[in-house]
C-alpha cells in the first residue's frame, strides 16, 4: 500500500492551535485550566502564546512560536511539534517489546498495552518526542506520543479518515495523503518560495532519517524553525542494537552449546574412568 504522510506548510500556518485542540479531543487527552481553587495550579505567564509549555503524555501535538530577527525585522515563525514518524525510527529500533512499530502505511504506530515503561524510546528519539509519567521509585511508567490517529478504538486512518489535526486545520497548512504525492507537492511549493526570494526554503522530511511521514514546507533553514539539521540515529543506539545484542546472542548461545557438549563428553569420560577403576579393583 502506498505510504501515507502529513504535509505541514509553515507558510500557511496561522498558529490558531486548532490542531492541538482537535488532537486532545479526538485522543481523549484532557487538559485542565489552571485554577488554584479547583486544581491547585496557578496560571503562569511565560511571555509566549505557547501553551502548554511542553509535550507531555497528555499533549501529543503542540504549536511552537518563535520570534526571529532577520536584518532588523522580526519574523514570527510557527512550528508544529509532534512525532515526525520517521522511516529510520530510533524509537522503533530500541523498543524492546514491539510496542512501537511501523504501521503498514509507513508511520510509527504504538500499542500502549505492550509498553513496559523502559523509556529507551525517549532517549533514542532525535526529536525528543516520546513522553511518560514515571514513578521515580518504582519505575512504573507508560509512554505516550502521537499515533497518527491509529490508537486502537480511535483509529481514524482505518476508517479512511484523515488525522484529527489535519481535519480541523482551517488554512490547509496541514494536508494528509500519499507520501509520494505530498513530496512532489512540497517540492513544488519550495521551488515557488525560492522563486519569490526565500533562498533557504526547504522541504524538511523529504530525505531526513530515510524520509519522515510528517514533512514541513519551510521558508527558511530548518535550524531557524528549531528543527535538528540532518538528524541521525545515535551511535549508542546502533552500537547497542546492531552490534552488542547480536554478539550477546552469539556468546550466550555458544556458551550454552559448549556447556551441553562438555556435559556429554565429561559424563562419558568419568563413566569409563569409574569402570576402569572398578575393573582394576575386582
Amino acid at each position: 500500500m502506498a505510504e501515507k504522510a502529513i504535509l505541514y506548510d509553515a507558510t500557511r500556518c496561522t498558529a490558531c492551535r486548532g490542531c492541538q485542540v482537535a488532537c486532545k479531543q479526538w485522543n481523549e487527552n484532557d487538559e485542565y485550566i489552571p485554577t488554584p481553587e479547583e486544581n491547585g495550579v496557578q496560571a503562569v505567564n511565560r511571555g509566549s502564546y505557547e501553551n502548554p509549555p511542553d509535550l507531555s503524555p497528555q499533549t501529543w501535538l503542540k504549536m511552537e512560536f518563535r520570534e526571529v530577527d532577520t536584518g532588523g525585522k522580526v519574523r514570527w515563525l510557527f512550528t508544529r511539534r509532534a512525532c515526525m514518524h520517521c522511516t529510520d525510527a530510533g524509537c522503533v529500533k530500541v523498543c524492546p517489546s514491539g510496542a512501537l512499530y511501523h504501521h503498514e502505511l509507513g508511520f510509527v504506530a504504538y500499542d500502549k498495552d505492550l509498553c513496559t515503561g523502559c523509556g529507551y524510546c525517549a532517549d533514542a528519539c532525535p526529536f525528543n518526542v516520546p513522553r511518560s509519567d514515571r514513578n521515580l521509585i518504582t519505575g512504573i511508567a507508560k509512554m505516550d506520543k502521537c499515533t497518527f490517529c491509529t490508537t486502537p478504538g480511535l483509529d481514524r486512518i482505518a476508517q479512511g479518515w484523515e488525522p484529527a489535526c489535519v481535519k480541523t486545520c482551517p488554512t490547509n497548512a496541514l494536508e494528509f495523503g500519499d507520501r509520494d504525492t505530498l513530496v512532489a507537492e512540497g517540492r513544488k511549493r519550495v521551488e515557488a518560495l525560492k522563486d519569490k526570494g526565500w533562498t533557504n526554503a526547504y522541504l524538511y522530511g523529504d530525505k531526513e532519517l530515510g524520509g519522515l511521514h510528517v514533512m514541513y514546507v519551510l521558508d527558511d533553514h530548518p535550524a531557524v524553525y528549531g528543527l535538528p539539521v540532518d538528524p541521525q540515529i545515535s551511535a549508542a543506539t546502533i552500537a547497542w542494537q546492531e552490534v552488542i545484542q547480536p554478539i550477546g546472542w552469539a556468546v550466550g548461545g555458544l556458551t550454552i552449546l559448549g556447556l551441553g557438549l562438555n556435559y556429554l563428553v565429561a559424563r562419558a569420560a568419568t563413566k569409563t574412568e569409574k569402570e576402569e577403576k572398578d575393573a582394576a579393583r575386582s
Binding site: 505492550l114 513496559t116 523502559c118 521509585i137 554478539i247
Partner: protein, 216 residues
C-alpha cells in the same frame, strides 16, 4: 564418619544465596527486554518493579556483609587478585580436566582455583558496573542527557551479557558438571569431605590442616 572441612562460613553462604536469588531475578526481568517475543511479559512495568527490588537486595547484601566480615572479604579479594604459576597451569590443564576428567596436568590449587578467581573478578567488576549504570538509569532518567542514558544502557547490556553468560558457566560447574560432586553441598551446608578438598584444592587443604590433625 567421613572427615569434613569447612569450606564456606555461614555469613558467606547467606550472602551467596541472597546474591544468587537477586541476580537471577535481575537476569530474568532484564532478559525480557532482550527478547522482543517475551516483551509482553514486561507490560505495565511489573518486571521493572521486581528488577528494582532485586537491585536493592543485590547492592545492600554485600554492603552489610563486608563490614561484618571484613577479614574474609579482604582475604577473598586478595586471593582473586593474586595470580601465580599454578593458575597458568590451571588454564592449560582445564580443557582436558573439565572435558575428559584427566587430572594429570592439573597443578594443586589454593582455596580458589584460577576459574573461580576469574568468576570472582567478573562478579566484583561487573557487579559494580551494573549497580552504577543501573542507579544512573533509575534515578537520573529525567535529569541526565539522553546520550549519557543511552550509553548507560549500552554498558549495562555489555555487563549483562558477560556476567549472565558466566552465570550459566558458574551454575553448570557448581551443580551439573560430573566432577564437581561436592560443590553444591559446600555452598548449602558449608562443608566438603577431606578427600574432595585434597583432590580439588590441595594447597588450601594443606594450609588449613598444617600442624593439626583433622578431627574425624
Amino acid at each position: 564418619m567421613r572427615q569434613e572441612v569447612e569450606r564456606y562460613s555461614k555469613p558467606t553462604r547467606i550472602l551467596h544465596w541472597v546474591h544468587m536469588v537477586a541476580f537471577c531475578l535481575l537476569f530474568l526481568t532484564g532478559l525480557v527486554l532482550f527478547i522482543p517475543q517475551l516483551g509482553f511479559l514486561a507490560q505495565d512495568s511489573w518486571t521493572r518493579v521486581i528488577h528494582r527490588i532485586a537491585a536493592v537486595a543485590f547492592v545492600i547484601a554485600p554492603l552489610i556483609y563486608i563490614p561484618m566480615n571484613w577479614k574474609a572479604t579482604k582475604e577473598g579479594v586478595k586471593k582473586a587478585f593474586s595470580w601465580g604459576i599454578d593458575d597458568i597451569g590451571w588454564l592449560q590443564a582445564a580443557p582436558r580436566y573439565y572435558f575428559l576428567g584427566d587430572e594429570s596436568g592439573m597443578p594443586p590449587q589454593g582455596s580458589m582455583n584460577a576459574g573461580q578467581k576469574m568468576w570472582w573478578l567478573i562478579v566484583l567488576v561487573f557487579g559494580v558496573v551494573l549497580a552504577i549504570t543501573g542507579a544512573v538509569m533509575w534515578f537520573a532518567k529525567t535529569t541526565a542527557p539522553a546520550a549519557v542514558l543511552q550509553w548507560m544502557v549500552f554498558i549495562h547490556d555489555v555487563a549483562f551479557i558477560v556476567s549472565g553468560t558466566m552465570l550459566f558457566v558458574h551454575i553448570y560447574l557448581g551443580v551439573i558438571h560430573p566432577l564437581m560432586t561436592e560443590s553444591w553441598g559446600a555452598i548449602v551446608r558449608g562443608k566438603v569431605s577431606a578427600d574432595y578438598a585434597k583432590a580439588h584444592h590441595a594447597k588450601w587443604y594443606e594450609e588449613i590442616t598444617k600442624g593439626k590433625e583433622v578431627k574425624s
